[in-house]
Amino acid sequence: MQLTLEFGGGLELLCQSVKIHNVDVVLQAGETKLTMRVLLSWIRTNVIKERPEMFMKGDSVRPGVLVLVNDCDWELSGQLDTTLEEKDVVVFISTLHGG
């Protein structure tokens, strides 16, 4: 499944400072749909290059990270149970507090 992943607010530092990743996620045998839960662990394995604890906590993202699926807060689409579709854009943004 073709997806666009974007990292911002400093999270890009965990993946070699690359903000936009066009990826092709292949479903495992027996899987019929791709959920955010599955995608997160795929990202942890395939995209995050350092300090994975700065991206994830347990099976979700760490506190202070906003997840947006097609520009919508993932709380509105079922969080970890959100089902992804071809060409979806998933954005991970770390909250900023500087000023």
Binding site: M54, D71, C72, V91, I93, S94, T95, H97, G98, G99
Partner: protein, 493 residues
């Protein structure tokens, strides 16, 4: 000479006394102005039904004086804003918390647009040492103050300092400086100065006096504290943040939208909290976000357009992209604004925000103390070693882009993050130094470690000790201490 010294300190004392008197008088003036404003407001409401009709009443029927009509004509000409929007603005009050990178541009636009009353909270002073730093790299603290002559030439353009604080206000509070700039732009706006840090003990009283709050602070505990206080008082909060080349903007606690805690019920780990003074910021980025904060505050005050509530604007300066995303609504489980939340004024006053977020309310740098004194050396002691020609290797563990800004002569840059794979490089540097100075191998070149402020150098020395390089010592206080105690001409950033 003796008498000269005495004369100087007498003058300094007198200057201090006069400054204190001046600030006291300014404070009293602002109190009187605010009392006057209230009396005038009351009289206007009382007399509006039976006020005498002036000979030329063209401006009076809509409540705007001829001066106001002239000053705000551009606003009045906007069909979607007009007299109605401007009249609402003139009656509204806005509090800006923080007069730094975000607050400075916001304050200038808010005073120019004709807000009725504008409050400024900040406890920082405009520092002289920042003036000396003005021409350094863009990694500087964003509250750096730029000399006024540089303003005109456009050097260092983008820092908040350039926008609002000038050399004339060195050693005065940022609030005094910002207030003077706002009054110079629009003397008809009532500017209220709050020269204190916002805390749980004073936040309710200060924020209660305003219709809208603008969060232009630079740290996590303040963001939770201000949001909770807005929930308790039922005020809309215009929240902006900037770091590096990115900015974020949203309106909390307004029109059924979420509060800060709805979005971030659990604070992020402290290791994820970067500060502008460590990570850098391009000054124009908070400038852009601060202007947008003023815009959102104006929209709410004048009831014009759709406020950025339940949505967040993400600004990426490098790719020139602005994305507006849809956020969750108010969370029923939110501890501050949720259905069963019992977050009262009393609870707010007792809440420990520094403990909750594990970070300090003021963005002051961390000071670690990981090593015994025997494993440490002061910058003055290090200077002695250099002067005496002692055989040694100095490892600088800062990131490479820091090292490029400034470094000590002959220091070896091995960033802390790559120290693990570079132990051989250190050993061979020590051997080379021993040979160069004719020492018997193993008997002695010293190993010193330095960083910016003396925290990472301690972490590095701990690691080097563990890996067998037991003679490693860190330079206490790092390059900042070197600049402070040894070489005042050494640049700090």
């Amino acid at each position: 000479m003796e008498s000269n010294g005495g004369e100087a300190s007498r003058l300094l004392r007198e200057i201090d006394t006069l400054k204190a008197a001046k600030s006291d008088i300014e404070h009293r003036i602002s109190i009187l102005q605010s009392q006057l404003g209230e009396i005038v407001d009351k009289e206007e409401t009382l007399s509006s039904s039976c006020s005498p009709v002036p000979i030329n009443d063209s401006g009076v029927r809509n409540g705007l004086s001829p001066e106001m009509i002239y000053r705000y004509s551009r606003h009045l000409l906007l069909p979607s804003f007009g007299v109605q929007g401007q009249s609402k603005l003139l009656k509204s009050s806005i509090l800006v918390v923080g007069a730094g990178g975000l607050g400075s541009p916001a304050l200038l636009y808010l005073s120019a647009c004709g807000i009725g009353r504008l409050g400024i909270v900040d406890h920082d002073i405009v520092e002289l040492n920042n003036l000396h730093q003005q021409s350094k790299a863009s990694m500087n603290r964003i509250d750096l103050i730029i000399q006024s002559d540089k303003l005109i030439s456009g050097l260092n353009y983008g820092f908040d300092a350039l926008i609002i604080h000038t050399e004339a206000y060195i050693s005065q509070s940022k609030v005094t400086s910002a207030a003077a700039a706002c009054r110079a732009i629009n003397s008809t706006v009532q500017i209220v100065e709050h020269k204190e840090a916002l805390r749980t003990s004073n936040a309710l009283e200060i924020m209660n006096e305003y219709d809208i709050v603008v969060d232009a602070t630079d740290n996590l505990p303040s963001r939770y504290m201000i949001s909770d206080c807005c929930v308790v008082l039922g005020k809309p909060l215009v929240s902006g943040a900037a770091l590096g080349l990115e900015g974020q903007l949203t309106v909390y606690n307004h029109n059924g939208g979420p509060c800060y805690r709805c979005l971030f019920p659990t604070p992020p780990p402290t290791s994820a909290c970067q500060r502008c003074s460590d990570s850098g910021v391009l000054g124009v980025v908070p400038g852009v976000i601060g202007c947008l904060q003023a815009l959102e505050a104006i929209k709410i005050a004048s009831a014009a357009g759709e406020p950025l509530s339940g949505r967040m604007l993400l600004f990426d300066a490098l790719s020139a992209r602005i994305r507006v995303v849809k956020l969750r609504g108010r969370s029923l489980q939110c501890e501050a604004c949720g259905e069963n939340a019992a977050f009262t004024k009393q609870l707010f006053r007792e809440f420990d925000y520094e403990k909750f977020t594990e970070s300090p309310l003021s963005a002051s740098p961390l000071k670690l103390n990981l090593l015994p004194r025997s494993a440490r050396i002061s910058s003055k002691e290090y200077k002695e070693k250099v002067v005496n020609g002692e055989a040694h290797v100095l490892v600088d563990v800062r990131p490479e882009h820091h090292f490029k800004i400034v470094s000590l002569p002959k220091s070896l840059n091995i960033p802390l993050s790559s120290l693990e794979g570079k132990l051989l490089e250190i050993s061979s540097a020590l051997k080379g130094e021993e040979q160069r100075s004719g020492l018997v191998s193993g008997s002695g070149a010293s190993l010193y470690v330095v960083c910016r402020r003396g925290n990472d150098s301690q972490r590095a020395v701990q690691y080097l000790h563990k890996m067998g390089l037991t003679s490693a010592q860190d330079v206490i206080g790092g390059l900042e201490s070197w600049a402070h105690d040894v070489d005042p001409n050494f640049p700090t950033y």
